[in-house]
């Protein structure tokens, strides 16, 4: 009975953990020579998010987010920041919404909301690439 009840919880354990401990929520803590921010929104009154990254060399040394949205979106952003902090921009560009949805057991009807992450990553990537084209690399 208990396991059946647990299976009816709309949030899996991982989602609850990321939701309850959003240590990457907020703005960038440190001043970075190279940083970028991107926003994405669902609709006028719907979910919206802001993703910020600080870059050192080719590494994302700090990832932060702000969000107005459901627990799955908050958990997805926390997972994204935890997972990609310290990794390269190229790795971030390999982000797949399907992996995130599977990991957090996001219901299919929320696919559009989780796709906001993809939009934000694309904007971030574009911004960072244009920054790098106009400025010399390896500033840190």
């Amino acid at each position: 009975m208990d396991s059946l009840a647990a299976s009816m919880n709309p949030y899996n354990l991982r989602t609850r953990q990321y939701f309850e401990h959003p240590v990457h929520a907020g703005k960038l803590c440190e001043a970075h020579t190279v940083s970028a921010a991107a926003e994405a929104r669902e609709s006028e009154a719907g979910a919206r998010l802001r993703l910020e990254v600080g870059v050192r060399g080719d590494r994302l040394c700090e990832c932060r987010f702000q969000v107005y949205g459901c627990p799955h979106l908050i958990a997805a952003l926390e997972w994204l920041c935890t997972h990609f902090e310290g990794k390269t921009l190229g790795a971030l560009e390999q982000f797949r919404v399907a992996d995130c949805m599977s990991l957090l057991a996001v219901p299919v009807e929320k696919t559009g909301r989780i796709l906001l992450l993809e939009d934000a990553i694309r904007s971030l990537s574009d911004e960072l690439r244009s920054t790098r084209l106009s400025e010399p690399l390896n500033q840190d």
């Binding site: 009154a45 919206r48 107005y68 459901c70």
Partner: protein
């Protein structure tokens, strides 16, 4: 999670069964209990029938009604369907105009919508921003061919209490039947059907510490107040509701009614005191909007919205406090409450609404934890939100 670790503040969705009620029901279900069919003409049948009729007297005592005017049903949803559809069809030769409000429970609004498809004409009266019905608006809507008005006693989402006596009086003056969905009122507020001008009243046991799956419909014994049955298959319950009577359930509702009757004032005072403690604890949060009336509503329900907060995240962040986001019946759809939208709340405010509902077993510690969790959750979610979203409320 162990239920002992949870803080239950969702009494408007359902109440725990009173231990005395549960014990009496278990006894009825036992081999030594009243397991006979109340329709059977032998000692076990007659014993079961005595249980059924005793319970009818107990419920009648709570309502100030005559026992014979109560019909057992499976709950308020069935009672609403029976009353509205049954009365509308019975009186259709007189006219096909019916009146209700869009803030009623789905058991009522969906029944009216079905009647609309059958060819009845429905007037949906809009409440004011607090959820109250304007009597002048009701009088203006009444026509020569109006047959039924259905208005709920206590709104299940906001706790707003309608002026049932005045509405009933308007109906009586025009020979229009008046149905009241009293699911949230029975056993919690004093109701005297010997005085109140109500023709049909729906109720359910599980809102006043009785079991789920049993309710009743009150049908006033006065000319023209009759309904067509929706089910066929026997002469039970004045030929209006066939089916073998669930004796254990009926014993449960009867005893729950008797207990409620004896504790009505005590429960109400307890609930009112805790509601004040809860509202005092959260009312100073910026951007908080009360959905309902500050005074004069049913104190067991406190519904608040928070600007710039996602309701689903707020619900999860409140754990282990069990509350509802609007109506529990609507919670799984994920849509903003239609009741709060009808009161003029924006999608965002309606979506952020949390309904706290307090009951007999709520304690000061429960309320203090709920206050702390709610304030922490609102603050944390606001801090996490992009600035524009906070202003969007």
């Amino acid at each position: 999670m162990n239920p002992q670790q949870l803080i239950y503040l969702d009494y408007a969705a359902t109440t725990p069964v009173d231990p005395m009620v549960a014990a009496a029901m278990a006894e009825t279900l036992s081999a030594e209990g009243s397991y006979g069919n109340p329709s059977s003409n032998h000692p076990l049948g007659r014993t079961a029938l005595a249980v059924v009729e005793t319970a009818r007297e107990q419920l009648a005592g709570l309502l100030g009604a005559r026992p014979r005017d109560l019909i057992w049903t499976s709950g308020a949803t069935e009672s609403d369907n029976m009353a509205i559809t049954g009365a509308a069809r019975y009186r259709r030769y007189r006219g096909k105009h019916l009146i209700t409000m869009p803030v009623e429970h789905k058991a009522v609004t969906d029944t009216f919508a079905a009647l609309e498809r059958e060819g009845f004409e429905i007037t949906w009266l809009q409440p004011d921003q607090q959820g109250m019905l304007d009597l002048r608006q009701l009088e203006e809507a009444m026509r020569d061919d109006t047959q039924l008005v259905s208005i709920m006693f206590v709104n299940n989402e906001t706790g707003v209490v309608q002026d049932i006596e005045a509405i009933g009086q308007c109906c009586r003056e025009r020979d229009i039947l008046f149905h009241v969905d009293a699911a949230q009122a029975v056993g919690k507020l004093g109701i005297d059907l010997a005085v109140l001008p109500i023709d049909l009243l729906s109720l359910t046991a599980h809102k006043f510490y009785g079991p789920k799956g049993i309710g009743a419909l009150y049908i006033a014994d006065r000319p023209g107040c009759q309904i067509e049955p929706l089910l066929f298959g026997g002469g039970h319950e004045r030929r209006l509701r066939p089916g073998t009577s669930p004796v254990h359930q009926i014993r449960g509702i009867g005893l729950a009614a008797e207990i409620a009757c004896s504790r009505l004032g005590q429960d109400l005072k307890h609930i009112a005191r805790l509601r004040e403690r809860l509202f005092d604890g959260i009312r100073n949060l910026p951007g908080l909007v009360l959905n309902g009336r500050e005074q004069g509503g049913f104190p067991g329900i406190l519904n608040v919205s928070a600007a710039g907060i996602d309701g689903e995240s707020l619900m999860l962040a409140l754990h282990p406090v069990c509350v509802a986001s609007g109506s529990a019946c609507n919670a799984k759809s994920g849509e903003a409450s239609y009741v709060l939208r009808a009161l003029g709340r924006s999608d965002q405010l309606a979506q952020s609404a949390i309904r706290f509902s307090i009951g007999r077993y709520s304690t000061e510690q429960h309320i203090d934890t709920a206050v702390r969790r709610y304030c922490q959750a609102v603050t944390a979610l606001r801090e996490m939100a992009p600035e524009v979203a906070v202003q969007a409320g």
